[in-house]
């Protein structure tokens, strides 16, 4: 396609020839992960440069992040706690993005999921002393229903009025936060504080530390049952996307909507359906975060999980199983990044990683060859 071979006025010749052409054959299997890994490494280097320019200490920041996220079993367990909501929102973004449906609203759907789970305990939908397994199932269900409802609105607007879903899902995020705030401050406020009462213990999701009585090794580990939800959801989503007819329809609409239409696939129905599934997954993330970590209904429950989910899905190439791995990486970044100064560093690193990733796709789509320039 393009040729960069230069000959300067002085007669000196650039000794190499860089040739860029569109890839016609299928790229080798190892290329994609290698490129992603390279992109992450390059991103960390660029991030270090920016931190240094901003007057920070890049090496100290990075070693801090590594040590306080993966350094021991205890912090590794905390990393998993952060990774659980990320897996679910990452999956939410993956299925929507696979259809080229840009759901940027996982954050709001997460908030509504948290609201749904809280309804079960605070309304209450289940009696105070209901058995634990009922709470596990019903809070998850309500989180998913409320998240799906929040996803339905932009999905319906897109299908019916062709409203751009990027803007509408994003606006729904801001609306969700205010919606929750009304209930946190106005309805369920505990003696004027900006939070509800602490949920009763039998409503909490089980944690690894609950097993400590029998196996002392698990003592103090906070990883909760949400991990089971997340891994199950990843496997189911992978099966749907790569093995089922519906998954094929979603992929076809994403790759070639016109062909899908000719094949008799209803695009409008799938827009609404996929937005709802995506919302349900993000809602499940919110509900498991409330029931497994926060244990009360309050604000500021997400350091931008919904937005990080976008990057996670992209880094995983929208593959649900790969989402599990990339979520752990970003869980580590968010966990240990909390104490790194200045406070914007985790956001910055996420941004650089994403830019590097997208740029690296160029090498996936094109073949770049560098050869020695032949003497004339």
């Amino acid at each position: 396609m393009a040729d960069i071979s230069s000959k300067s006025a002085s007669g000196w010749k650039f000794p190499f020839r860089i040739k860029i052409e569109n890839r016609v054959d299928n790229p080798p299997k190892w290329l994609s992960p290698v490129l992603s890994l390279t992109a992450v490494v390059v991103a960390l280097l660029i991030g270090a440069l920016v931190i240094w320019l901003g007057g920070g200490k890049p090496w100290a920041a990075y070693t801090h992040i590594a040590k306080y996220s993966l350094g021991s079993v205890g912090v590794l367990s905390d990393t998993m706690v952060k990774a659980i909501p990320l897996m679910l929102v990452g999956l939410a973004c993956s299925i929507a993005f696979r259809m080229k449906l840009w759901n940027i609203g996982a954050e709001g759907q997460f908030y509504l999921g948290a609201f749904g789970a809280s309804l079960v305990v605070l309304l209450p939908i289940l009696p105070m002393e209901a058995p634990k397994w009922q709470f596990i199932l019903v809070t998850a269900l309500f989180g998913m229903i409320l998240g799906a409802a929040w996803g339905f609105i932009p999905g319906f607007l897109k299908a019916r009025y062709n409203v751009n879903e990027i803007i509408s899902t994003l606006m729904m995020n801001y609306i969700a936060i205010e919606w929750n705030n009304y209930f946190i401050y106005g309805v369920w406020s505990e003696s004027g504080f900006q939070m509800s009462r602490m949920f009763q213990k039998n409503a909490w999701l089980p944690r690894l530390s609950d097993l400590a009585k029998r196996w002392p090794f698990f003592g103090g580990l906070t990883t909760h049952f949400g991990l089971v939800f997340a891994v199950l959801a990843a496997i189911i989503l992978w099966l749907i996307l790569s093995k089922s007819k519906w998954g094929y329809e979603i992929r076809l609409i994403g790759d070639n909507p016109r062909a899908a239409e000719y094949a008799g696939i209803s695009i409008k129905k799938n827009i609404i359906l996929v937005m709802m599934v995506s919302g349900a997954l993000a809602g499940l993330a919110g509900s498991s975060e409330i029931m497994g970590v926060v244990h009360r209904f309050q604000g500021a429950i997400s350091p931008g999980y919904g937005y990080t989910g976008i990057i996670i899905a992209w880094l995983a190439k929208l593959n649900p199983l790969a989402v599990i791995l990339t979520s752990i990486l970003f869980g580590a970044l968010i966990l240990a990044g909390r104490e790194v100064q200045p406070a914007g560093i985790p956001t910055l690193i996420q941004g650089v990683i994403m830019v590097a990733l997208i740029a690296s796709d160029f090498f996936y789509r094109n073949r770049v060859s560098i050869t020695r320039q032949v003497e004339d």
């Binding site: 919606w179 200045p342 914007g344 560093i345 941004g351 830019v355």
Partner: protein, 323 residues
Amino acid sequence: MNFILILASGVATGTVLLYATVGEIFSERSGILNLGVEGMMLIGAMSAYKTAAATGNAWLGLLVAMLAAGLISQIHAFITITLQADQVISGLALNFLATGISLVLGEGLTSLRDVVPHLPKFSIPGLTQIPWLGGIFFYNQSIMVYIGFLFIPLAWYFINRTRPGMHLRAVGEYPAAADTLGIRVYLLRYLYVFVGGLLAGLAGATISLSISPGWFGGLTTAGQGWIAIGLVIFAQWNPVRAAFGGFTFGALRRLVLDLQGPATILGLANPFYYNVNYGFFLKMLPYIFTVVFLVIGSREANRKRIGSPAALGLPYIRGQRGL
């Protein structure tokens, strides 16, 4: 409630949206969707504030803000124009990156509130005497508001009535045809993404140095960049409609804030006064309005058969079939 005051501050708030929206119109008219407006505005707000704090010169702050946001927009330009990557995902990435950079470099700026100079505010003598309109548009407004008034017709004239404006539209509607006429598609797209960046930076600086001065991290813009992208669709890529949308929207935003003040509205008890918590529903309104504006814009576009620029979102690859 003083409606003139509300509308006047609506015009001020709307000016921010106006700059950001017209900036995005330039970019989209050339065929490049840039979702990084919110991040670029933050870069603008932060660098304007930081420069003004360091030098004591608000105008220098404005200039640096525009250049900084313009510069960062070129990352998106490079990725989408030269590397031909997906514009949606690249714009989102730019947003993360720009937000992160402004948070890191903006560390500690919040405490400088009292030392940072603002851009001047003044009334325009004579015009303030016009009944109603004078008080709304010309009384004690920021200079950025007046510049905005001049900017709207200029932007409209440039896009619709000049030769470079025609080239801009050609590049966004049918780049292959533009290319055969010798119009430099790639160069123009880079240029107008840059213009979009400049204007987003200007919008950010208008917030932090004039309309609601200060640096409050991500809350400085509070989603206005996204609202601006929504307004582009409502405005149907037309700067005059963007101004109308921006000012209406600014007034609505303002009205929402002021509704909690009085005990009675038009003789009826004001529920927002008696239960503070209903205020959360008021705060939702700007975002609900945005969605409503989107629905109106999309329906009208369907009816009048006006669409987005035909090549919007598509990379131009010389020599390949298609647009």
